[in-house]
Subunit: 385 residues, 2 copies
């Protein structure tokens, strides 16, 4: 069903990211698991300048929910999602490097996705969008980089889903990547992570407003997306951080709107509950439910071993000179053992690898929060290239 | 609204537990957070015989979702929830001890709860049930034990919520408990656990069939209860157990009923997803949604520090001779630090304490799964009393 707002959907999701450019990179794109896109556009942002030698390209692949707005610029002064990592004189120095941050294929922040209008039908794809794999995100990014005239990526960086995508890219487009920085990512999804994502998708699909993907964009399944985000957050942070930060503190509105049964209604009694609500409400208002389902499932499917006889065989297809692999002790979603495994595989594949397990308290999200600790490692690695 | 099935609700929930006796322990029961019950009944089961000296009483308090059927008996041969721990010649030896397992106040397995019919209105309490605290469960159990003629509990055992209840009991009824065994429990709920329980309750409350607690017992909010249980399970087990047990195995029905979008519909692609579904469907069919909300919130509210100037002051009110405190390395819901804290507090309160952190892989649920490891510790402790 076509609603009056269909044509404005991409613009709606893209608002607040005025600096993102969107490039039509292909009018024919085959997806890895079958299916085909008639138009493939990616949103991206660039910072700094490409040098004459074309050897200062840094490409940043993002996590599930980030846009291409990795840092502020003169065009868009609002802080980016990795503001203290990327910029002039920062660890990823935009005075030296030409930095390109690419929004994921399937994301609602400007790239072709389930909210995009299918040019053949004139309606948003919704669930007619083909099955999305991490490899499709990598391949789409490669087309964009070719259009931008990039022949070699000097440094490819990916945290979380971005790291899976960077691994896929380094295997499939192995002539293009020289150095690799992987943060809190994995060669394959493990069952605990699959369980948490499966649950998030189930909550969205069980929201009556989801309506098998044919929800109204004016009245989308906010409950489903909000609760999914909260489930996600229980795996993005750590119990010890929350104990330090919130303890058993009551929330400011704990006396308001509570029904007489002591079961919270619209307000929440404990600060941890209010915190989750606040963060998840922000998310429900900017992220499309169907996009979330597709991106989430893509992470479950990812397994580098699909690119060879084994994970090692697949990783051996990469051609990385040097790699930095960073994990976090308190990360329960992409636990440090998975980072160690990546480092060992790359090392066996003749890459010179530095591996560090950082003792941050913020779990999987540490790279977004304790950026100083990560910036120090990234800066050290880059300065030795 | 009174449905035709109202009078049979308790019987319905109690079916399959034919050996539980239900005793009306009081016709006036004041709840700690305010409110009042006109009738208070508790379901319980006993095993073994009270000796002449009345000094062989073992009381078992249960976790959130267990019934009083802790082990099989001649009256009910179906296996109990702690079958390999309790019985003739087992760690808790019913040849020697008179074992009483008490169903929690607020549970739908026979005790007075939100599914019970309020004798004044003739309708189930539902959300008119007063706010439920762990202390109410302890106080109700004390009334039952008095009715049963128990003057001293030789050994009080509580895992999880049962441990919170055992702590509350030992503080409030401090003349009655001699020895204490606490397993994977806590002196207070921490924010990570509160977050996970808050989410479970939100999922139930957002199920349209929940209907503010006034659901039809023929058509209850199964989606909400099922998904809540799955969220719970992600904290009851451990990521490492699931990696070993399921890895990335596909489920047997992974090719069935999947829609063309690769987003699971009624079937699940990975074995971990099918496992969660299977376990949670079993739960949704036996556990009442409102009871779940009340029991869940009671755990959030629990904090021994409410019984004194501090946690230590509260624990100092106990009068325990010897205690065994067991925690599990992989428990993320009641982490081993919380067990260590209990042991230290009891020790400061002049209890002779044995504390062990067990290296089981099954997380919080280890006491239910790796029973051999726990039975060895419990047996050792009891044999030295």
């Amino acid at each position: 069903m076509k609603t009056s707002s269909d044509k404005n959907i991409v613009e709606m999701f893209n608002s607040g990211n005025s600096s993102a450019k969107t490039l039509l990179v292909s009018d024919a794109f085959d997806m890895m698991r079958g299916g085909h896109l008639h138009e493939l556009s990616l949103a991206y942002e660039t910072f700094g300048k490409l040098n004459k030698e074309h050897n200062n390209v840094v490409v940043i692949f993002t996590g599930l929910s980030a846009s291409s707005h990795v840092t502020s610029s003169s065009k868009n002064k609002s802080p980016g999602w990795w503001e203290s990592m990327v910029g002039s004189k920062k660890a990823i120095d935009t005075d030296k490097y030409y930095v390109i941050c690419i929004n994921n294929l399937g994301s609602c922040f400007g790239s072709t996705s389930p909210v995009s209008v299918n040019s053949v039908t004139g309606k948003p794809y919704r669930l007619t969008f083909p099955e999305l794999a991490v490899e499709d995100m990598a391949n789409a990014s490669h087309l964009l980089l070719e259009k931008l005239g990039v022949s070699t990526i000097n440094i490819l960086i990916g945290p979380s889903l971005g790291g899976m995508k960077a691994l896929a890219y380094s295997i499939i487009h192995n002539k293009f990547v020289k150095n690799l920085i992987l943060i809190s990512t994995a060669t394959q999804a493990l069952p605990y992570a699959i369980a948490l994502r499966s649950l998030q998708r189930e909550v969205i699909r069980k929201d009556p407003l989801w309506n098998n993907g044919f929800y109204s964009y004016e009245n989308p399944p906010l409950n489903g997306v909000r609760i999914a985000r909260k489930i996600g957050m229980t795996s993005y942070r750590s119990a010890s951080e929350w104990s330090q930060r919130f303890g058993r503190k009551k929330s400011a509105d704990s006396k308001l709107n509570q029904n007489t049964f002591g079961i919270e209604n619209t307000s929440f009694e404990y600060e941890i509950e209010s915190y989750l609500e606040h963060q998840a409400v922000k998310f429900q208002n900017i992220f499309d439910a169907n996009c979330y389902l597709y991106l989430s499932r893509a992470m479950d499917w990812f397994d580098v071993a699909n690119h060879g006889e084994s994970a090692l065989d697949a990783i051996s297809k990469t051609n990385i000179e040097r790699a930095l692999v960073l994990g976090v002790t308190t990360d329960i979603l992409f636990p440090p053992q998975q980072q160690k495994e990546i480092a060992e595989l790359l090392s066996l594949a003749n890459t010179k690898v530095e591996y560090k397990e950082l003792n941050c308290i913020q779990g999987h999200d540490s790279f977004l929060v304790d950026t100083d600790t990560f910036a120090k490692e990234v800066k050290g690695f880059i300065s030795n290239l």
